[in-house]
């Protein structure tokens, strides 16, 4: 099994359309499963997929990012010692 992910960092909105569509063209046809992070994102994916032959587009699952336990602890204690954590705006995880 191979794990594919497309992550679009903050500030890439204009680049995202082309980047995600191109990346998806390359990989989605062979994916076993596709996930994203919100209903909004799923709708966007399906809109992009509308005119393409993407068999997976109708079965996009949603994985909700959650706050880490360390952040919860920092919030409770106002601690400044919480480890760094990445910020994900789009996550498409493609499994093969």
């Amino acid at each position: 099994m191979t794990l594919y992910s497309l992550i679009a960092p903050n500030g890439w909105m204009l680049a995202c359309k082309k980047y995600l569509a191109h990346g998806t063209d390359l990989t989605l046809r062979r994916a076993d499963a596709v996930f994203t992070v919100s209903e909004f994102s799923r709708t966007r994916i399906q809109a992009i997929a509308k005119d393409r032959d993407w068999g997976q587009a109708g079965h996009v699952g949603i994985i909700r990012p959650c706050l880490s336990n360390s952040l919860r602890q920092a919030a409770e204690e106002n601690s400044r010692n919480t480890p760094s954590r990445g910020k994900l705006f789009y996550i498409w995880v493609l499994l093969k």
Partner: protein, 138 residues
């Protein structure tokens, strides 16, 4: 622009004008979402005096800011999810967000929403929440 910084600056200019003595400080943390946007020039152009742009901050700095914040404003016009306002909520900070993209879905009824791009609406929401915050501390 995506992050809505321009709208936020317009709203804050409104606040500085209406609340010359009691206007809070606006701290801008993180990237402003595009190389085409010159944040410092926009602050100067509006004559804003109580804006503190920090640029990107560390996680520890972010948590420190959240712990001290009275209101968290997230006027972003486009998000696939939207973790920062959830982080603010984790610190018990009231959140104002644009009613756009995934934000209403993610934040549910736990945030105050404003029309995307509407600076006047945003200024009114900030004023209202600051008033609530002041009242809550009395």
């Amino acid at each position: 622009m995506k992050k809505g910084a321009s709208v936020l600056l317009d709203a804050f200019a409104n606040l500085e004008e209406r609340l010359p003595e009691s206007c809070p400080e606006l701290v801008l943390a993180g990237g402003m979402g595009g190389q085409e946007f010159d944040l410092m020039a926009e602050i100067r152009r509006r004559g804003l005096k109580r804006v503190r742009p920090l640029g990107r901050v560390t996680e520890a700095q972010k948590f420190d800011l959240l712990a001290k914040a009275a209101v968290f404003v997230f006027p972003s016009l486009y998000e696939g999810f939207g973790i920062p306002p959830l982080e603010a909520m984790a610190f018990g900070v009231p959140v104002i967000a644009a009613a756009s993209s995934s934000l209403p879905e993610v934040l549910g009824d736990a945030a105050v929403y404003v029309e995307p791009g509407d600076a006047d609406h945003l200024a009114r929401a900030i004023t209202q929440l600051l008033g609530d915050e002041t009242n809550g501390r009395r």
